[in-house]
């Protein structure tokens, strides 16, 4: 029971503690305006280069923006504790680590879904793309799975935050990496082979491919392999992220570097 309480209540409290994010002055520019303009920028570059349709860029960038809260907020829920001087207190408690850390990921996943759905809807309306109504439910599912997978990568990033000070840099690096490698704006076939190969093992790639097929009218059944691959990658990254957090916690304790990184 205690673990369940830590998972849900602790996770929600931690997310709310990111009170700066809840300020409309930060939330709206970061989660609403920025993704829209990223979609517009790449859609217009696409029109310039005659590479792909507007739909290609709306789907790719809307899903990629799910990773923004998943990377930044996930890292900040741990790095922020250090900033507020509460990290040693939390790690000194006997609370089981699994619900303690994974509970923090639940609100972040929800955040990622909301950002992605907003970007998809607003970007689609602005650029006038057509998506079959019947595909909307399946698209929502793919977005949720993708946000979950990105949160796994966010956990890895958060673990790095236990050892290295500047999570803003690492979050930006991961965000940029996903933008280049996952076929967000450049079809995987047009990237070098080694980049496409790496893309198969990171979150987003399969989710974006599935979402593009759904938006083109494919059924959920026909993309179930892609959705399963995205979910599987998410599970691997969540497990790796959790293990990495425990490792970094131990290293930080050994080096007495919890507060200084």
């Amino acid at each position: 029971m205690s673990a369940v309480r830590i998972f849900f209540v602790g996770g929600l409290t931690s997310y709310r503690a990111l009170f700066s994010w809840l300020s409309p002055w930060i939330l709206i520019p970061t989660f609403c305006i920025a993704p829209l303009f990223q979609i517009l920028l790449f859609a217009y570059i696409g029109r310039t280069t005659h590479l792909e349709s507007d739909k290609f860029y709306v789907v790719g960038n809307a899903l990629q923006y799910a990773s923004l809260p998943c990377l930044f907020a996930m890292a900040q829920t741990i790095d922020g504790e250090r900033y507020q001087k509460t990290l040693p207190v939390i790690l000194a408690t006997p609370a089981p680590r699994l619900p303690l850390f994974l509970g923090r990921s639940l609100p972040v996943i929800a955040n990622g879904i909301v950002v992605s759905v907003f970007a998809f809807t607003a970007g689609g309306l602005l650029l006038g793309i057509h998506v079959p109504v019947g595909a909307l439910g399946s698209l929502a599912l793919v977005i949720a799975v993708t946000a979950f997978a990105c949160t796994g990568l966010g956990l890895v990033n958060a673990a790095a935050g236990l050892r290295f000070r500047d999570t803003a840099v690492s979050s930006n690096l991961f965000f940029g990496f996903l933008l280049v490698f996952c076929g967000v704006n450049v079809p995987l076939d047009d990237l070098p082979g080694w980049m496409s190969t790496i893309a198969q093992g990171v979150p987003l790639t399969h989710g974006i491919e599935a979402a593009r097929k759904l938006a083109d009218g494919a059924s959920l059944g026909s993309v179930r392999g892609l959705v399963a691959a995205e979910a599987g990658i998410g599970v691997v990254y969540v497990a790796a992220g959790y293990g990495f957090i425990r490792l970094m916690e131990r290293v930080s304790r050994q080096r007495a570097a919890l507060e200084v990184a």
Binding site: Y44, R47, T48
Partner: protein, 257 residues
């Protein structure tokens, strides 16, 4: 005049050193432009427009210059506030505008890292030859654009003085200005109502001048517009900084975060 030049030099140098030691700034001025240079390269190459690869490489560098100006100038007041140096800075004898100018100039200057990084990246990673059409004009256009963006940075920094969440506003303005100023997309593709907006933004003319000098074309009209807008920004910044400094003093909110 000598005092002003000395103040500018010392302030510029100090801020350049400070920014160069910031991981986030190195990311925004070097790594992020490389990410966009890579994306641009593949987008233009996949779109079968290889003749424009230098354009893509150069544009990514110019986008980086805007990013570093925006983040640096937008945050210049907030960072001083967090470090507790804003009040001594405002209280110091020189006008605040003259103290801020070297700082915003430094943030624009650090954008040179972006331009250098993307051109070298294009040359050595993607094999894009860097043949400048008008090297002398290019050598003039870049510093003119940097000083101009420094002046625009003053307007941004001054405007953000009263807002504690200036960094979020900076985040919001990065992509829109890339789009509106034709950094990577020709303005002719954008809706007509965007054009007047792009004309009053100096990056439009700065990018145009640097591009014309590098790839070919007449850079001088755009350079002229840069100078005109730079002077206009300086007057606007002088008014805004004075106004906001006065308001912050009256409300006693200068150091409040």
């Amino acid at each position: 005049m000598i005092r002003f030049l000395r103040l500018t030099w010392v302030g510029w140098l100090l801020n350049m050193k400070s920014l160069t030691r910031s991981g986030l700034f190195i990311f925004t001025s070097v790594i992020e432009p490389l990410i966009f240079a890579t994306l641009s390269y593949y987008l233009f190459k996949a779109g079968h427009r290889p003749g424009t690869l230098l354009y893509a490489s150069l544009s990514a560098g110019l986008m980086g210059i805007w990013t570093s100006t925006l983040f640096g100038s937008g945050g210049v007041i907030s960072w001083q506030r967090w470090q507790g140096t804003l009040e001594p800075t405002v209280a110091s004898p020189p006008p605040l505008l003259l103290v801020l100018f070297p700082l915003t100039l430094a943030t624009a200057s650090i954008g040179l890292y972006s331009l250098t990084a993307t051109l070298l990246w294009g040359r050595f990673v993607f094999g894009i030859p860097v043949h400048l059409a008008h090297p002398a004009t290019f050598a003039l256009a870049v510093p003119v654009m940097i000083v101009n963006l420094g002046a625009l940075g003053l307007v941004i920094g001054g405007s953000f003085m009263l807002y504690r969440n200036a960094n979020a506003l900076s985040n919001m303005l990065e992509f829109p200005v890339w789009l509106v100023t034709g950094a990577l997309v020709p303005l002719s593709l954008l809706p007509g109502w965007v054009h007047p907006l792009s004309w009053i933004l100096s990056p439009t003319w700065g990018f145009r001048a640097v591009r014309a000098a590098a790839i070919g074309g007449d850079a001088w009209p755009a350079l002229g517009m840069c100078v005109v807008l730079g002077v206009a920004y300086a007057f606007l910044a002088s008014y805004l900084v004075g106004l906001f400094e006065f308001r912050a003093r009256v409300r006693a909110t200068l150091s409040l975060t």
